[in-house]
């Protein structure tokens, strides 16, 4: 697979139409503010939403990450993606609230792929296991809620040129499936 030209994305999205230009397999860099959380974060958000917690998810991206604690003098510790499929069961309510993108690593369920198409949202993968490298693209980190969850607290980070690959675009294409369909080429 040859490298495509890098496309730039800024979150939260000002205009959701920009997602129309993206296709599965595109290389992107992300700047702006992105939301962060993983399993326990999602359970807690969904338990408290509409009760004692509210948040505007419109045009936002959630990065599935639980970083290591920042050593002195650092904004964040190691911060690579976690496996996204564990978050599949929590996605639909957030898409209903306007969420535009998620980022992690690995395959999503068939149901999530349908939902992404229906709600015109994208799924990105970034570089799994490259947590030290990815920490270089993080400029700020801010707690939003649930500090008691430690590495699974709900927080946001300000990123500049954070690299990722489009896995699922809004048209129902899946980059991992495209890769699998080229399998068994002579090594």
């Amino acid at each position: 697979m040859l490298l495509k030209e890098t496309k730039l994305l800024r979150f939260p999205l000002e205009d959701k139409d920009c997602l129309k230009l993206l296709r599965a397999g595109d290389v992107v860099t992300i700047s702006g503010w992105i939301l962060c959380g993983r399993d326990a974060t999602h359970r807690k958000i969904l338990n408290h939403l509409g009760r004692d917690f509210s948040f505007d998810f419109s045009g936002e991206l959630i990065y599935y990450v639980g970083p290591t604690p920042p050593p002195p003098g650092k904004v964040i510790g190691s911060c690579g993606p976690t496996t996204s499929s564990r978050l599949d069961p929590y996605l639909e309510p957030l898409l209903k609230l306007g969420l535009s993108a998620t980022m992690g690593k690995g395959k999503r369920s068939p149901r999530v792929k349908e939902l992404l198409k229906e709600y015109k949202a994208i799924y990105l993968a970034t570089f799994g296991g490259a947590g030290a490298y990815l920490s270089q693209f993080v400029e700020k980190m801010e707690l939003i809620a649930f500090p008691e969850l430690g590495p699974e607290a709900f927080f946001r980070i300000k990123v500049k040129d954070f690299p990722a690959i489009v896995i699922n675009d809004i048209y129902g294409n899946d980059f991992y499936e495209e890769v699998a369909s080229t399998a068994n080429f002579p090594a």
């Binding site: 697979m1 490298l3 510790g77 690995g106 395959k107 296991g129 030290a132 991992y176």
Partner: protein
């Protein structure tokens, strides 16, 4: 025998350093694999990033990966040596201090309440009595669970034979796809009982990279599986390419006449292992 204080210190040092420093043997395999991928392609870019990641982690004392693992520890001790009172507590204290001092992530939780212990303990401690005199070493693996979650075990029928074993391993790699962060070290256990087979797959991951099983039949199986797995073209991080696995390690044990257990356990590309030799 080593003092409990020294044991704790060594475990702490080993846990922190293994989270931060990628073994040279892994970096070397990255470089070799990079050169086999298409020039200027995504697979090469992944290897470039992984090599940069290792460099940054070491320079900045940052963990290679935010998943600093559940500690899997293998104590290898020869007969005639004694394990002192407080041995496991000292290991756990070493891990807990490593998490604090090394700014590692606490990732160990109760399976039902999901409450995080905050210390990455209790460690999973296996013991192996090894032949020879005066041997005492502890192998430490901060085991990431993106790869661990993709493990599988099957109780095959003896009639399934070698073909059945190969198909199960390939199917497991295929099902895992991008999830376990390839390129992988694939650990395969064959034989034993249900739990021993799983242990063999894990033990296979501890084996020195670049070494092969001493049994020629098993060695041939390792080579064949590595070649077949790389034909799946899942590639580095599942973005496509020629390198899905860096190595396949197979360990075998005698089994029941009615059984053919096979277990597959993965180590992600962040193949973090430290070996402490006390004797």
């Amino acid at each position: 025998m080593v003092s409990l204080d020294k044991l704790k210190e060594e475990i702490k040092k080993a846990y922190i350093s293994s989270c931060i420093k990628l073994p040279n043997s892994v970096k070397e395999l990255f470089k070799q694999a990079r050169n086999k991928e298409v020039n200027g392609g995504l697979a090469q870019k992944v290897f470039d990033i992984l090599l940069q990641n290792a460099e940054i982690a070491e320079r900045e004392s940052l963990p290679l990966c935010q998943d600093t693992g559940i500690p899997v520890i293998l104590v290898r001790i020869s007969e005639g040596l004694t394990i002192p009172t407080g041995f496991e507590s000292a290991i756990n204290a070493g891990v807990a201090e490593a998490v604090k001092e090394g700014y590692l992530r606490a990732s160990v939780a109760h399976p039902l309440t999901r409450e995080n212990t905050g210390t990455n303990t209790p460690a999973i401690i296996h013991y192996e009595i090894v032949p020879g005199k005066e041997l005492f070493e502890i192998w430490v693996m901060p085991k990431g669970c993106g790869s661990e979650n993709m493990s599988r075990l099957a109780m095959l029928k003896p009639a399934d034979g070698l073909e059945g074993i190969k198909n199960f391993v390939l199917e497991t790699v295929k099902l895992a796809g991008p999830n376990p962060c390839p390129p992988l070290i694939v650990g395969v256990g064959i034989g034993g009982s249900f739990e021993h087979c799983a242990f063999l797959a894990k033990k296979a991951l501890f084996r020195e990279l670049g070494t092969q099983n001493l049994d020629p039949k098993v060695k041939a199986l390792e080579e064949e599986l590595l070649s077949e797995i790389n034909k799946l073209a899942i590639g580095p991080l599942g973005f496509g390419g020629k390198t899905t696995a860096l190595a396949v390690h197979v360990e075998v044990a005698h089994t029941h006449i009615a059984s053919l257990p096979v277990a597959v356990n993965f180590l992600c590309h962040s193949a973090r292992i430290a070996k402490i030799k006390f004797l």
